[in-house]
Symmetry: C2
Subunit: 117 residues, 2 copies
DNA sequence: TAGTCATTTCAATAATTCTGGAAACGACGA
DNA sequence: TCGTCGTTTCCAGAATTATTGAAATGACTA
């Protein structure tokens, strides 16, 4: 379940240029994920720096790690992303109509949040 | 348009317990918003501390301020929230099928991101 | 104009975070 | 078992952030 503390941790993990780039790359990479070295090579980040950021994202529940031979694959944790969005948009406009552009955002999230028009 | 820098600023603004509480309160309050003092009273935050956080959220584009008499009303900026979610979920799973739970998240956002299944 | 109220700015301190060099670890191949 | 490769941990310094007391601003009222 999402709590303010968990949400703050997740948001703080994303609130850094390198980590945001890593996370978005993994969101696009899909459930199979990418090996740490592959991410570092693609983004030009030193291994130890990347390791620090991957750990931060994983601790925040945004990434899952799995070992495969000598490589460690990191993949985005989609349910956490979903929960975070639901938390942010929860009970948006007190259940009323939002601005048009936002109206249809996060269908699943808002359904869970109990504020779908 | 959303850029990594803008997204990082917005996420950093939300990545703090007090600010997240303020933002969520305003998301639920709707477009009319709430006066600064009202927010502070409800959350038990000293005026100067709250002012600092409101400024941070406003600078990140997440809040809009409007003066009304002696009061200043703050309201959530829904399009920014929408853009941020779109940026995070952009091209999710490389256009393929996400995990079931996430599949229907952010309908508007994903449509804009060009990755709707 | 003087006074009050809502809010902001200033300033200083304490705490947290980012970064990269060096060393360690763990899995594999020869 | 030795060497290599991918990754992580340890460490220290530099930078950023949160908090709050005190003072300033700006809008309204008497």
């Amino acid at each position: 379940m999402m709590t303010p503390t968990i949400a703050v941790d997740a948001l703080a993990a994303l609130a850094q240029e390198t980590r945001l780039a890593v996370f978005r790359m993994l969101v696009q990479a899909g459930p199979a994920g990418l090996a740490a070295g592959e991410i570092g090579a693609q983004l030009g980040i030193p291994a130890n720096t990347l390791s620090f950021h991957l750990k931060t994202l994983a601790q925040a529940g945004l990434l899952a790690a799995r070992q495969e031979g000598r490589f460690i694959y990191y993949a985005a944790n989609y349910p956490t992303m979903d929960d975070l969005i639901a938390f942010l948009t929860q009970n948006c406009c007190n259940g009323g109509q939002c601005l048009p552009k936002t109206e249809q955002v996060a269908t699943t999230a808002r359904r869970r949040a109990g504020s779908l028009a």
